[in-house]
Symmetry: C2
Subunit: 416 residues, 2 copies
C-alpha cells in the first residue's frame, strides 16, 4: 500500500465547490488502496485579506502575531477539506499546528523545519483515515505557532512525505496547481512550448528560481535531499503532469530541458572599488540587511581595483541603490552606475554536464537574431544571458528553438 | 497588583477600529498597574459565515471538524488584539488552543472544562505581558480542539479568572458587551427600567436564563462556584456597569431586582398519562435526545393518572410534538394537547427568600390589569406566570411597576 501526499494550493481550495472536487481526488486515491495525506493552503485571497486587516489594526504588527493570524487560514481549509472528505463517505481527520508534529526554529515568518514527529499522522493513516494537514505552519519547541515563509505549503507537503519515508516505489507527493505541469518555456511567451514528462530536481530548482512558479525551489530541494518523487499536476484535470525525480541516464540525451525569462531587471555596476579582503562582504551584508535578493554577481579584477556588477528585479532597484551607496561610503571608494531596462534569458538542463557546445549554441543563435548580450553567467546546469528588455521575449523564443524544445521534438527525444 | 480579566464579545471586536478601542482599555488597565488578561470572541459574523461555508462543503459536517473551523475565528481575533496592544506600546502575547491550557472533555460542540493549566498564562503575566486568549475553545487530553458551546467565551473568561484565583479584592472579570449592564427589565419593553449597580449570582442566573442576554448562565454559575466577581459593562463607554457578586445583607432590602419576559411560547399538555415509575423519564429523555429545552414543567396527580404540562419557545414546538407523540406511543396512554400564543413574565430577586407576599403582590397586580394567568411556577428566587402572548409586554410593565423597579425608586433603595 503506497502513500500519496496531495497538496492543494490556494486557488484549488478557493471555494466550497473546488474544495469538494479536491476531496473527490483524495477519496479516489483512498479507494485505489493508498494511504492518503492531504496538505492544504489557505483559501484564495484569505492570506492577503488577513494581512490587510493586520495593517489596519497595527502600524507594525509583530511577526509572531502575524504567524498566529495567518496560520488560521490553512487551519480553516483543513477543517473544510476534512468535512468534504467525510461527506463523500471516507473517514478523515484534520490536524492542527501542534498535532501536525512539525517543529521549527523560532524565526517567525520564515521558520525552518527542525524535525517532524509523525506519530499522530501514522496513527491516523493506520486507522484508515484520510489525514488533512494545514500547510505553511509549524510550532516551536515551546509551542508558539510559526509560518514557513514563501513556498511554505509545498514545503510542508514534501517534508511530511519525507518524514513518512515516501520514496520511489513507496509513494509520491502530488502538488496540485492551476497549470498542467512544468513546461519547456512559459507558454504565454512561447506558444510551441511543451509539457515536460519528467524533470530532475536540479533542473526544477533552477527553473523554479527563474520564475516557473509552479513549485517553490525550497520544496524541490527538500524533495531532492530525501528522494521524494514529486508530481506537479493540474487540480481540475485528469491527465498526468510533470514528475520531478532523480537524474536518470536517459536525461543525458537532452542537453537543455527548458528555458525561462526574467523580464524586468536593473543592473548596478561598481567601478574602481578598492579590492581589499572583506570589501565584497561589506556590500552584500548591507544588501542582505535591506532584504534584497540580487542575482548574477560578476566581478572582474582591474589593477588594484575591482569592477562588480549584479542584477535585481526592477521594483527593488531604488532600495538597492541606497544600500550600495551606504556601503561604498564605508569602503571609501568605488563609483556606482545604474542601468535599467534589462531582461535575462536562461537555458537549463542537466545534460549540459556531459554535452559541450551548449553555451556556444545559445550565443550563436542570440547573435544571429541580432540580440546583444550584456552579461553572461553560468552554473553547471544553467546558462543565463542578460539582454535588452525589449528583446527578452524574442530571446526566449530564439533559445527555445535553438535547443529544439518545440513540443514535437521534445516528445520525440524525451519518450523515444 | 490585581488581576483584571477583560472579555470582549464579537460585536466589540467586529472591525479594526473596534479592536483598537478594546486594546486601549486593556493597555489602560495595564498602565493602572494591573495584570491584564484579555479574552476575545470571533469578529462579528465570522462564526455564522464559517458555518455557512461548512454547510456548502458538506451536507452533515462532523462536529469535530466544525470545532476546528470555528476555533480559528477566536484565534484570528486574538492575534489581531495582540497586534493592536503591541501597537500601543505594551508587550503582549496571544495564546492558542493548546497554550491556553484549557482541557475539556471530548464532547465536540459543547465541551465541558475539566481542568486549566495556567502556568503559561502566569509566566507571560509575570513577564509584564498583556495576555490575549481565544475564547470558546479548549483541547482534549489527546490534543483535539473542542468548542465550549453557547456562552463559550464568557465561560472561558470566568474560568480562567477562577483558575488564576481572582476573587473579591484580588481582581475582577470584566465582560464587555454592547449594553450598559443588567437592567431591572428590558428597556425596549419597559422605558422606565433602570440599570442595576449590583446583582447576585443567583439572580443573574435566573435573569440570564430568562433572556437578559448579556451573560450566559453557565459563566455566571462558574463565577458563583469560584467566587469570581463579574463586572458587566459597555465596551465603548467609560461608566461602570453591573457588578455580579455574592449575596450581601443589604440585598434583602429589595425583594425583586428585575423582571423579564419570554415573549413567544407554546405549551404541550398531556392528560391521562398512566402514572407509573419511569413514565416521565421516557418523555423527557426523548425530548432531550431531540435537543429541545423545555421549561416550566408542571405535573398534577389525577387518580391513577397524571396531567403534565410544559412550555417551549415556539420555533421548537413542531419537533417537541413529534418527540412527545413518540414517547406516548411507547408509554401506551395519554392524550396530547398543544397551545400556542403564550408568553411568560417572571420576577427575580434573592429578597424573596425573606420577604413574604411577593407572589401575592404579583398575582394581584396582574389580575387588576385584567391579565389571566395560565400557569404558575416558582423557585426560591423567581416567580413565573404564563400569560396570553398579546398581554406579555403589558404584564412585564405591570410587574415592573408592582415591585417599584422604576429607575428613581430602585436607586433610592439600592444605594440608600
Amino acid at each position: 500500500m503506497a502513500l500519496v501526499v496531495q497538496k492543494f494550493g490556494g486557488t484549488s481550495v478557493a471555494d466550497a465547490d473546488r474544495i469538494r472536487r479536491c476531496a473527490q481526488r483524495a477519496v479516489a486515491s483512498h479507494l485505489d488502496g493508498h494511504h492518503v495525506l492531504v496538505v492544504v493552503s489557505a483559501m484564495g485571497h484569505t492570506t492577503d485579506e488577513m494581512l490587510e486587516l493586520a495593517r489596519r489594526v497595527a502600524t507594525s504588527p509583530p511577526q509572531r502575531e502575524i504567524d498566529v493570524l495567518l496560520s488560521t487560514g490553512e487551519q480553516m481549509s483543513a477543517a473544510l477539506m476534512a468535512m468534504a472528505i467525510d461527506d463523500l463517505g471516507a473517514e478523515s481527520a484534520s490536524l492542527n499546528a501542534r498535532s501536525l508534529g512539525i517543529v521549527t526554529d523560532p524565526v517567525h515568518g520564515n521558520a525552518r523545519i527542525r524535525s517532524i514527529d509523525a506519530h499522530r499522522i501514522v496513527r491516523d493513516l493506520d486507522a484508515g483515515r484520510i489525514v488533512v494537514a494545514p500547510g505553511f505552519q509549524g510550532v516551536t519547541d515551546d509551542g508558539s505557532i510559526t509560518t514557513l515563509g514563501r513556498g511554505g505549503s509545498d514545503t510542508t507537503a514534501v517534508a511530511i512525505a519525507a518524514a513518512l519515508g515516501v520514496a520511489a516505489k513507496t509513494g509520491v507527493c502530488e502538488i496540485y496547481t492551476d497549470v498542467d505541469g512544468v513546461y519547456t518555456a512559459d507558454p504565454r511567451h512561447v506558444p510551441a512550448a511543451g509539457k515536460l514528462e519528467r524533470v530532475s530536481y536540479d533542473e526544477m530548482v533552477e527553473l523554479a528560481a527563474l520564475g516557473a512558479g509552479v513549485l517553490h525551489p525550497r520544496a524541490v530541494m527538500f524533495g531532492k535531499n530525501f528522494g521524494v518523487p514529486i508530481h506537479v499536476r493540474h487540480s481540475q484535470r485528469a491527465e498526468g503532469g510533470t514528475m520531478i525525480v532523480n537524474e536518470t541516464p536517459d536525461m543525458e540525451r537532452v542537453s537543455v530541458v527548458g528555458c525561462a525569462l526574467t523580464p524586468d531587471l536593473g543592473r548596478i555596476g561598481i567601478r574602481g572599488m578598492p579590492n581589499r579582503p572583506g570589501t565584497q562582504s561589506i556590500i552584500f551584508e548591507r544588501i542582505e540587511a535591506a532584504g534584497i535578493l540580487v542575482d548574477d554577481i560578476i566581478q572582474i579584477q582591474s589593477g588594484e581595483c575591482a569592477d562588480v556588477t549584479f542584477t535585481v528585479e526592477s521594483p527593488h532597484l531604488a532600495d538597492l541603490k541606497l544600500a550600495v551607496q551606504e556601503a561604498l561610503e564605508r569602503i571609501g571608494g568605488g563609483e556606482m552606475s545604474v542601468e535599467v531596462g534589462l531582461a535575462k534569458v536562461s537555458a537549463v538542463g542537466v545534460g549540459m554536464r556531459t554535452h559541450t557546445g551548449v553555451a556556444a549554441t545559445m550565443f550563436r543563435h542570440l547573435g544571429e537574431a541580432g540580440i546583444n548580450i550584456a552579461n553572461i553567467t553560468t552554473s553547471e546546469i544553467k546558462i543565463s544571458c542578460i539582454v535588452p528588455q525589449e528583446h527578452g521575449p524574442k530571446a526566449l523564443q530564439v533559445v527555445h528553438d535553438a535547443f529544439g524544445l518545440g513540443a514535437a521534438k521534445k516528445d520525440a527525444v524525451r519518450e523515444g
